[in-house]
Symmetry: C2
Subunit: 292 residues, 2 copies
């Protein structure tokens, strides 16, 4: 099996904090919780957004956010990325002013908020992406699910965090976690861009729900298969069907359902040979009692 | 027991859609998924934000969002709320221009995005709120948890949705659901404002994680107790401690942990008399096989 290029660091003391409290029996306990801090993204001199993040891979988060929002395209030449940890800022610099900055300076006079205008731009690219007709074997699905769920992670250590994993066939390659709803997938997009990873035969796995935003991000990244432990929204399904994206949700143990792009699925595994998930891996956080 | 003032409508055909797909055995299935649609909020002539929502209680969502972001204060006189379903817009009108609009028109020239500037304003009120020293009996916690989890809901019907419940002592009163991360709690804030509900002896229950944003919203609403089935972030805990908010998470069956404001808790129930949660109520969505 290939080794992860990036995998969670549950032992990294910068990413979790130890906190004291009491449990249901009024016994003192100590537990670990994930860190959450603001990070403000700039594109050249333009402030774009402040996101809440655990704080790892800030450069990839900034790049991936800008790429997934179509504020930066693969045609823009990135000349530098500066992370200033003391003021929680990342600045992405490009060779020339991007189209997005020009659009934004016009739009702000009428709308006041980048969030509103960004959506239209994102859908522009969405409609032009043609996803490749790759295959997805159900044996890969089960192998990925088992491998990802048993990989040591901040989730298993501290809970309250989402994970997103870039996979190739039956192998997980890049496993990012974050408290922010979409940061984990944005960090993967930024990492792929920075390392020049191809999208061939890639699969995206997420612990989060398959909403419209998550489907749009997968399509933006030109990845044809999106898998989740969680459920779907109606618009997520509709957009996936429009984009010819394979959308698989409620993936737990031997069970899953597919609501879009089912032509890519090759049923080569016998679900009855797949064991149920071990209860301690069912995405619950650990709580340790104090020694005293 | 008091009746709910608002409770989920899993049978409302406007809130879920029936979709076809296949399951892990390649059998055709049909399942329900929650609707997700954009709604753009205006404060007078100022466009504020576009949120993704299931679409119920649009007026309460708009009011609650503006209140919880400190864009509207209890001093502003709301003269009208117009929902235009054909263009997915809600306009909240006030007697005079609010401070927020003035601030925004100055800020946009330098920052370009309301999201960045809103945060500072939210923290301004946060620091001035003094939460009352009410009591929380553990018997109420268990009663609320059981009652809420067995109430028919869109979650039990279709999955992929968050719930938030305003409670008083051991009774749930207003149960809102939404696909959007914070919309459910904003709808409660809007409903409380519109109906003039007092915050006395109120408790807020959420299915979502106890992040900084969720803690800030509870404090904005001046509710002293926040309970969740999910986990914590470090900054959520820190802010709750600053604000003297009782913060209870990982509440499932007889178990919970409290990481802030533990002085409010009165342990009057024996946890060993609390049954484990029934597996079909453990927040998983149902999947029905097709009759054929």
């Amino acid at each position: 099996m290939k080794k992860y290029l990036v995998q969670p660091e549950p032992g990294n003391p910068a990413l979790t904090e130890s906190v004291d409290g009491v449990d249901h029996t009024n016994t003192a306990i100590n537990t670990r919780v994930p860190v959450e801090r603001p990070l403000t993204l700039f594109l050249n001199s333009q402030e774009i957004v402040t996101v809440m993040t655990i704080g790892d891979f800030p450069e990839d988060l900034a790049l991936g956010f800008l790429l997934n929002q179509n504020m930066l395209t693969h045609e823009d030449l990135v000349t530098g990325i500066e992370h200033e940890p003391d003021i929680d800022v990342v600045v992405v610099r490009t060779e020339r002013e991007t189209d997005y900055e020009e659009k934004l300076s016009k739009k702000t006079r009428t709308s006041g908020c980048a969030q509103g205008t960004a959506f239209g731009d994102v859908m522009e690219k969405f409609e032009s992406v043609a996803l490749p007709d790759t295959t997805l074997k159900t044996s890969w699905l089960y192998a990925l699910s088992k491998n990802i769920n048993t990989t040591p992670s901040l989730y298993l250590e501290a809970g309250a965090i989402h994970g997103c994993v870039l996979c190739e066939r039956d192998e997980p390659l890049v496993y990012m976690e974050d408290v922010g709803r979409h940061n984990a997938v944005d960090k993967i997009a930024g990492y792929m861009y920075r390392k020049g990873l191809s999208v061939d035969e890639k699969i995206l796995y997420t612990t989060g729900r398959l909403t419209s935003e998550m489907v749009i991000k997968a399509v933006q990244m030109e990845i044809p298969i999106l898998i989740s432990r969680s459920g779907f929204t109606a618009w997520g399904v509709e957009l996936a069907r429009q984009a010819n994206l394979t959308l698989i949700g409620r993936m737990k143990g031997k069970r899953f359902i597919a609501l879009s792009g089912t032509h890519r699925i090759e049923y080569d595994a016998d679900p009855d040979t797949i064991p149920a998930e071990l209860s301690h891996l069912q995405r619950k956080a650990s709580t340790k009692r104090n020694a005293d």
